[in-house]
């Protein structure tokens, strides 16, 4: 075994220089916040609200129904009613989820407003208001669905709409690997942070190294999974067990959906 060099046996007398490296911390925080949303613990509601929570397929169907009906409706009163329903439901969100859903919906509506600004000058100001409100409603509903339903429950809900099992399986794998790769990226950013002990003149190179490695890792993992699936006899066909029976509260929500359809037809 080689001998340890002399400099390694001495205590380092090093005083670091200042450097702007907030980028690593910001990247870390953003990756970690996305990861925490993907973790299945979030999404399913707890406490009293969980008792009156419909199952995921019903929630998904309701959200899609309202989005389709609101998009087709020419009556603004119907859109206002649906907005009131959305805002009422949003009141039940937690302090962390509410600003997230509301900000996303507001940002999407604001962006639509900017895109439709020419309509105001061309003499059709109502178009901007109508479209923006409908965008707010659609994004808000989807945000609400994502905030109150675990991701794996949402993909399971797709089965209600007769989406092929293999497609749902692909969604599930995608979510799983987003979490795994996210964890790897968090560890790599942590490693970069720990090794950034001075002035890094080439920060872009380090970050692109991490992105490049994550890409290579994802390719490697996909190849490994493909091989593992082949070893387990997978030949392109995938069937899951029967769909779980819906809850009694779902009937109540089916009635709720029927009322929305009736309101749409009436108006």
């Amino acid at each position: 075994m080689n001998t340890i060099p002399e400099w390694m046996t001495k205590t380092e007398n090093y005083i670091p220089e200042t450097d702007h490296d907030g980028f690593v911390n910001r990247s870390l925080l953003s990756v970690m916040s996305v990861m925490s949303r993907f973790r299945t613990s979030e999404g399913s509601r707890k406490g009293r609200l969980a008792q009156v929570e419909p199952s995921a397929p019903v929630k998904l169907a309701m959200a899609l129904l309202i989005i389709i009906l609101a998009s087709c409706s020419r009556n603004m009163f119907f859109t206002y009613c649906m907005l009131a329903v959305l805002l009422l439901h949003m009141c039940g969100l937690g302090s962390r989820q509410l600003p997230r859903v509301f900000t996303a919906a507001l940002a999407a509506a604001g962006f639509s407003c900017i895109l439709l600004l020419p309509a105001v000058f061309l003499g059709s100001p109502h178009t901007m208001l109508t479209v923006s409100l409908k965008v707010f409603l659609s994004v808000g509903l989807l945000g609400f669905l994502a905030a109150t339903t675990a991701w794996n429950r949402i993909t399971e809900g797709f089965r209600f709409f007769l989406i092929p099992d293999i497609m749902i399986f692909t969604f599930d794998i995608t979510l799983k690997y987003i979490v795994i790769l996210g964890d790897i990226c968090v560890d790599m950013l942590n490693a970069l942070k720990l090794r950034s002990i001075g002035k890094n003149h080439d920060k872009g190179n380090s970050i692109s190294g991490i992105i490049g490695f994550a890409f290579l890792k994802s390719r490697h993992m996909s190849e490994e999974m493909c091989a593992a699936m082949a070893c387990r006899g997978f030949e392109g066909e995938y069937h899951r067990g029967t769909l779980k029976i819906l809850k009694p509260v779902d009937l109540l929500f089916a009635l709720y959906a029927a009322m929305i359809v009736a309101l749409f037809i009436y108006l």
């Binding site: 080689n2 340890i4 400099w7 390694m8 090093y14 490693a191 090794r195 002990i197 991490i210």
Partner: protein
């Protein structure tokens, strides 16, 4: 003698799930401390806390007389100085390697210390570490193309080139063959004799008894069960 690392009643939880419960531990300069315990008992969390990646929710962590908490490490100068003193070798070497070649990877740390190291010194450090770990043949290769054992050596090399006072190793023997395990055990012993403070988490009893001045056993209640 004041301990280099002092943990007092440290608690930590991940989103409500307790990972560390009232950990009190002193680690002296030059000591080799081995952490043992079942999977999920909190060993890796404790190592992350010692490295300043997470902070105690209760209790305090002091390194060389300085309290290590969120507010201390917000100061980038203090944070960088602390990270130079405490090197962390991750369990999965893949996450630690992100440069184009092994040599670049080893030079990454010293190159940032350019205020106190000249270009010649940086090159000398890289050469010394490459020779020490016997990885001359890997110097120009891309890190992601190496084998597991080679990656482990490179990840160790890139931490050693920063010359940290404390070396924290998370499961250093995991995924290595017998020959590589023996080599690493001997190498860690050599580092210990050179005066480095080593904190090692391992399931390997042989390594624990060979290297550990003290062995800390953690239980599934995320507490220190006993210290040998």
């Amino acid at each position: 003698m004041n301990p280099l690392i002092k943990l007092e009643n440290v608690c930590f939880a991940y989103q409500g799930h307790i990972a560390l419960r009232y950990i009190t531990l002193d680690i002296n300069r030059g000591e080799t401390l081995v952490l043992q315990g079942a999977n999920g008992c909190g060993k890796s969390t404790l190592l992350k806390l010692i490295n300043g990646l997470i902070f105690p929710e209760e209790g305090s962590y002091t390194f060389d007389g300085q309290t290590i908490d969120r507010s201390t490490l917000k100061d980038t100068i203090k944070s960088k100085a602390f990270h130079q003193k405490v090197g962390f070798v991750f369990q999965n070497p893949d996450v630690q390697l992100f440069c184009g070649s092994v040599r670049e990877e080893i030079e990454f740390g010293p190159r940032q210390m350019s205020s106190s190291l000249s270009e010649e010194e940086i090159k000398k450090r890289a050469d010394d570490v490459i020779q020490l770990l016997d990885i001359q043949h890997l110097a120009d290769r891309a890190p992601y193309n190496l084998s597991g054992g080679e990656k482990k050596k490179v990840s160790l090399a890139c931490v050693l080139s920063m010359n940290p006072e404390v070396l924290v190793l998370d499961e250093p023997l995991a995924g290595l063959d017998r020959a590589a395990q023996d080599w690493l055990s001997n190498f860690l012993q050599q580092l210990h004799e050179a005066g480095k403070t080593l904190i090692i988490s391992t399931h390997d009893d042989e390594l624990a008894h060979l290297l550990g001045d003290r062995i800390v056993y953690m239980n599934m209640d995320h507490e220190i069960d006993y210290i040998l």
